[in-house]
Amino acid sequence: MALTPQTQRWPADRAILFVHGVGNASVGDYTPLVEQVQAMLGDDARRFAFYFLYYDEINDWFAAKNQAGALFEQLIGGVRSKLSGGAAPVGLGNAIAEFAGDVLWPVLLADARTAVRTMYLNQLRQIVRDGENAKVAVDKQQITIIAHSMGCFHTYEALREAATNQQVMLSPDTWGVRFANVIYMASPVQLIRSVAREIQGVVPRKETLHCVAGNALAMPSEPNLSGVPVMSARRTVSITGNLDPVGGHLIRNKLPWAYMDFPNEPTFEPYIDPQQLATIGSGEDVTLAELFQSALREGGAPKITPENPHAWDAYVARRADQIKTWLVS
């Protein structure tokens, strides 16, 4: 059963969890990405246990159960009008709006939200327990999470839940579970926060949707006995591209309502990669829209091409040296 967490013996003191984005990713789909990371790490790759969170089965449950994209039409319309207010090209606006329609339904169905989060937290606990079984003390475990696109949203929600709910047994201060690195690539967390807050009247169990809480997006943390926040991750990195709308950019313009940021947080490192489209036919905006549509709509795992500004492997490749440093340090 795919919902059972992956377990394995750690070769050393560290592990990586990959969390994919939109699409019907299944076991084996990200083998090329892992090979890319292994090549990047060189001999150090042998020190890592590699984990993957495949949560599409749960998305499929809810899609089949409700048979209703209709429920999200209002949402899609909301995103579309918001973008048109910012003078976005129509094709690009539609592509982004459809992406939002795909990713926002955990916002509207509390059970969908809870299901993926439960699966995620089970996997995190299993990773920590695998580390303990390999005789690596929890405080010495070097666990990195690399999330892409919608995987960033599930990562953020899971880590906030872990940090704020001691019953989850993964809080950084009470239970001492701190992740070495959490690397968000093309994160839509702020985009989802903005849209969800606009429609919060129809968001069920808002208190369980962490990204909408507070006056600003907060880093997952737990206060210690003196009230000082202890971060869930020792290092939090956000990498996005200036052509990637999911990461909060529209044709090289940063959209404050869609770009995930934690200003003044010393453990947060933001990076915005300059991007170029390799294929420019009838205008960069049209090409971008087409790339998104093809990447997001296909039935299989998103086909990652060098031209796609949202591509996971391109993000990894551009920051290979830094990522290696973060992972092996």
Binding site: L71, T114, D139, Q166, Q167, W175
Partner: protein
Amino acid sequence: MRRLIVAALLLCGSGARAQEFRLNDILDSLKRGATLVKLDSADPVAAIKLDSVSKLLRAAGAGTVKVSALAGVVTGTRVSFGAVNRWDTRGTDLLAQAWFHDAILLLPKIANGALLRPLRTTQPDSITDGILAPTNALRSLGMAMASEQGAERLRRMDIKYGTGSPQLNVLEATVNFAFQWLPGLRAAKDGSPSRWEFLGAYRTLEVNVVRSGRAIPNAELISAGQVGLRWYRWSTTPDGRWAKLLQPRYGSAGLYVVGPARAPFSSLIRVRRRHGAFIGFGHMHLAFVAEYPRHFVVGTDRHLIPHLF
């Protein structure tokens, strides 16, 4: 002597080790750690909290409570009868109290938040790991329990939403969306799904059993409407076709309506509707139309036309 026992238990693997630690072991080890790192001066807030919570817990007679029971407390899991002193109900009363829950959670917070770093920097790993062993056992057991809770929550989600669960039409999806706000019908606080689901459907292929006088009953297809609630059964169903048939994952009950025309695809909106009730057993249901002419109808909740019926 206690240290010898602890050392012996450490050799017996984490499962056995975790089972044998008691609250006194946690309190003693944290006290020892606090002395080693001079917590009084390094972190006076933590030192005071450790002292006061230790006195409080010992005064309540909680020192002999097993770590497994404590793990149940911190994860909100019902504590098993065997984990507490079955002849003394004060133990179970204590575990259920909010202050006890908060007091227990203070201990790992002191261990991991205040003691761990100075211990790692001033003591060898063997000493640090030994001091933290009882608290770590609590975490390990708690993690196992939390994962079991998570697995159970996902199992229930699978029953309600997974492959083979009934699909919802637009009306049902909309009403069930609204159910997310209704007490008793919405999900539990811990995130477990509600057992209940609104059911409202137009059925086009119901089998009406008709008997005229002493003639052999014959069957005809009619249309009908259902409004009611579906109820999911969380207990595990044994494998096997017959077992699944006899113990379906869900049942349902509610109001049943048939139109005046005894034909498939007929309208239910007209006058002269007749009413009754139905009960469902898995995807099959049996209805009784109470208004004259009374009759029984059997049907299935499979959708003939997705999204609509």
